[in-house]
Structures are given as C-alpha cells and as structure tokens.
Symmetry: C2
Subunit: 324 residues, 2 copies
C-alpha cells in the first residue's frame, strides 16, 4: 500500500491538504471512495476532543461557535468546525454554506471552518462527517466541533460521533420545556442556555433552573460524574459563561478518561461506525447508475400493480447477485 | 411455478391455512422465505380495508378492538387483527401475546386474531406484517386492523401499510396535548378519544375539542375531504360512538376511492414496500451465521483499536462479494 500524497501535508497541518482530503471523503466516486478509505486507515490515533453541538435555528448557534471557538484559539488550541445538515438539500440552504456566518473564526489561522456539503442522505452524511472528523484530528486540531440543527435524527447521529454532546437553547418560558424531546435531553452532557445577557438574563436563568430540575429526573448514566448532565447560562455576544462552560467540558472529559468511560464510549462508537459503514456499503449497490435504472423500471411496474413488491425485490436482488 | 398447497385453502378462507401461511412468512429460514415470496406473489388483488390503529398502553386498545371488531362482524364483515410490536423482544411481553386479551373476538368465527411474534427488528416486523396483511385479505377478510403500541417508529411503519390511520387516546387534561408528537398527529386520519363514559365523559369531550383545535392547525393534505382529519369520542365499554367512528372511516375511504387517492396511496405504499424489501434483502446477508461470526471477529478488533472501522467494513464487504 503506497502512502497517499495528501497524508504528509495533512499530518503537518496543511489547510489546503485538509480541505482536499475532506472533499475526497465527500465524493461518491468509487475510485475516490477507495482512496479515501485507504487514507483514513493510514491516520494515527486521535487525541482531540470531539464536541457535538445541537441547537435549532434562532438560538444563536453560529454566534456561539464563533465566540467559543475564538476563545479556544486564544488559549492556543486549534479548532475545527464541521456541520451535519441532512436538511440542506431539501431546504436549499446549508447551515454552514455561507462561510461569512463565521467570518472571524474562518479567518483565524488556528481555526478551520468547513461548510457543509449539500447532502444526499443521512447515511452518507454520517460516513463523510466521521471521516472528516478523523482528518481534522490528524491535521492537528485539538477540538473538533460538530454542529447540527435540531431536526430529526441528525442529533442522534452527532451524539454518536462525539465525546461530549451539548445542547444550545434560547431562554424560554417554563411551558416550553416540553419543546425539547426527552430523547435529546437524555443524550445531552451539557445544556447551555444562550443569550443570558440584557433583558434576557432573568429568563435565561429561569430556563437554566427549569432544565436543571428536568435533568435531575433523568436516569443516572455511568459516564456522568456528580452534577452531570448540567445546565448553565452563557452569552455568545458578551462572552459571559463561556470559560465556565469550557471548564465544565474539560472536567467531564478528564473524569471520563480517568474512569475509563472515554475510551469505552469511543470503542463503542467505532464499532457502530463499522456497522454503519458495512450497511452503507451494502446499500450503496443500489446507487449505481445501472442499478438505479433497473429499480426505477421495477418500481414503475410495482406502482402500476403489474408486479408484486416482494417479487420485484426478488428480481432486483437476483440481478445484484449476478457477477458483472 | 407450481401452486403452493396452502393457496387453495387460503383463498377458501380456511383459518388453519391462514395461520400456517402467516407462520411461513414469519420464518427467516431461506427455503421458507422462498416459498413465502412465491405464495405472496400468487395472491389476487385486495379489496379489503386496512386500518392502522395506534395507542399507548392504558388507552384501552384491546377493549376497543374487541368491541369495534365484534360490531363489524355483526354487520356481516370478516375482520382480521394483526399486531406490530417491535418492543416485544425487549419487554418480554407481547401486546397480543396473550390471546385471552381479546377472548370474545378470538372465538368469533368471522374474526381472526393473530398474536404478534416475538420480533427481531423493525425491518423484519414490517416485512412480515405486510405479508400477513396480504394473506388475511386473500383469506376473505374485509377489514384488517393493524395494531401498534405508540412507541418509536412502529407508528410510522403501520401508517405506511394502512389505508386509514387511527390514533386512540385516553381523556386528558389540556396540558397533555403535547404528549402526542406532532409527527404522529400529522399521520392520523381519525383521533378517537376512548373512555367517553361515566365520570370521564366530560374530560373526553374536552380532549376531543382540544384535538379538534390542534388538527385544524395542521397543513391540509390532498387525501383529506372537508372535516378530516377529525377527532371523536368513543367508549369501548358502552359501545357509544363506535357506529359513528365506523361511518367516518367508510366515508373517508369512499371519498378517497372516488378521488383517486386510495389507489395512489396504495401504489406509493407498494413502491415503499418494494424498496424496504430490497434493502432488507441486502442487509439480510449480514444475518447469515458465517457472516455474523466474521462481523463479530472484525467488530472485536475494531473495538480494541486494532483495525479502523472503515477498513473492517471494507474487509467484510470484500468477503461478502466472494462467491460461496
């Protein structure tokens, strides 16, 4: 196995090499997939911290990432920002498509902001993001922020590829507590209530108190030290609470490392990745142009009632089994 | 293609043949799968009405099915009851595992109640249930009730294989409206608030009014005539509202038939079934004993950090591609 041309500049932290490597893993061309697979397999183990961040539009997610990321770079850390945005094809807009959204961080030499690609489906997004995380780590980033909008299954996906999962919320009346699904709450390690400044300071504190109460009702997880999961107020505009939030994240990560949970969770995530990759690889056969054409024909006959669905599937599976 | 021995008695409406045919489609043995596929493909088109019914434990779902099903048989209709219960393996108990739960209906010569099998995974449950529906229809049932508990994705699955989707609820305070997820509300054609009798009559009526308001806020779907989706009170114990509910279902089905939506929805469902069957067929390769053993070995090496997930998946995919 020859070493990929991208590997050396990537490990040196070359930004152009990193961008080209991410473009490579985003490609669906079979020769690109082969090359990407070999490149990923050649990467050294990671020592970076993977932080998943979810928040619905309007909570100030990009302002938070800009402020939080800038603070980390000022501490000498290198920060990468990736986005998981399965909705970008449908909505037409991408959460990170507009690079100007994080203008400051994008121009910061210690930061790397990657716009999210327009995506085909959630499985593809997951695979590409996992690989992009590994590439960012290999390029020497200490913290990889994986951002997602709070819709559908993307939060579960991001939690499954992060060491810490953070939920960013806006201040709200107590009634709106139910707006956050229980499943999402159960995944969160830290809930940050943003906009804790000016007129919204009091509502933000009340929201923190509400979520602190709600978090106490959740079942205790083995990977949580005392006091976690936890809710805190922050302000992305004034910077208030950001050092405390980072301190919490480090404490949590350190505790998990010492207690053995950090490596255990990563090992489980690696096995999940293997299974997802395996299933994705099998299903990818259906995306080949000749397979698509055949599926379209069979599908039309099924829709017309001319062919039972099970029989159509059998014919397609037989066709896939033929050596080509 | 020789005709299956089960086909003739099945089409005659023989209950033992129906039970044996459903057992056949529930089997994962390859020779059984082959035979089941051929049997399903040989079935005539259906004229039965497929009614999906969801409701969390405690809303009186089995009492409702018993009363509603008995009413239909008294009108001369033949009724089959199937269950989609992806949780049955984990919880140990099955929603229809105890046949005595619907004692009256089970002994009714015009009804067929099938206990839910202990299930492997949602995909398998979906395939088997779709095939069991077709078998029940072929055996001469006019109405097929597909029951599910209100958890996870099982409701979406059942809605995808039903002509009408009904949500059964218990009377509740207005605050609890949010307990029903928006996605479920959007799938419902009819919301029935059960236990509208005795002390609960007033709360039930208020709940109906709350849901009537909530349903008005949803986007109008092309398949809905004026006034649908709709909320109504029923009592499974007194039988109040059951004739009205059935009248509503027939009106909705007739309207959709005349407007062309009935056949369009079935055609879309058939195409979805084809795709699900195709994907399931591909992924089924991973369930073979020798594949499982290999996945287990590779997974262990991934978990130990000895093999990157992508490389492990590549090795497994290569192995699957080898002719055996």
């Amino acid at each position: 196995m020859t070493t990929d041309d991208l590997l050396t500049p990537l490990l040196r932290g070359d930004r152009r090499a990193l961008s080209r490597a991410i473009t490579l893993v985003e490609s669906t061309r079979p020769d690109h997939r082969d090359r990407a697979g070999r490149l990923i397999a050649a990467l050294p183990d990671s020592t970076a911290l993977r932080i998943g961040l979810s928040g619905t539009p309007g909570v100030g997610k990009s302002t938070f990432i800009e402020a939080f990321g800038t603070m980390l770079t000022e501490q000498g850390l290198r920060v990468a920002v990736l986005a998981v945005d399965p909705s970008s094809t449908r909505s037409g807009g991408s959460i990170l498509g507009d690079k100007t959204r994080m203008e400051l961080l994008s121009r910061n030499p210690r930061a790397y902001v990657r716009p999210s690609p327009s995506s085909a489906h959630l499985g593809g997004v997951a695979r590409r993001t996992r690989e992009a995380i590994r590439l960012c780590e290999a390029a020497g980033h200490d913290v990889v922020l994986i951002e997602t909008v709070g819709v559908g299954q993307s939060e579960t996906l991001v939690a499954q590829m992060s060491d810490l999962f953070i939920l960013l919320l806006a201040p709200a009346g107590g009634d709106e507590l139910q707006g956050v699904k229980r499943g999402i709450m159960e995944m969160a390690d830290l809930i940050l209530v943003n906009k804790a400044d000016g007129d919204l300071l009091s509502p933000a504190r009340r929201t923190v108190a509400d979520y602190t109460g709600a978090l106490r009702l959740l079942r205790k997880r083995p990977q949580d030290p005392d006091g976690f999961p936890k809710a805190m107020p922050v302000s992305a505009t004034t910077g208030a609470g950001l050092p405390e939030a980072w301190s919490c994240m480090r404490h949590l990560a350190d505790w998990r490392r010492e207690a053995g949970h950090f490596d255990r969770i990563r090992a489980e995530q690696a096995r999940d990745w293997f299974m997802a990759e395996l299933q994705g690889g099998l299903l990818a056969q259906l995306d080949a142009p000749d397979a698509r054409a055949r599926i379209s024909d069979l599908g039309a006959r099924v829709t017309q009632g001319a062919l039972p669905p099970v029989e159509a599937a059998r014919q397609m599976l037989d066709w896939l089994r033929q050596p080509r």
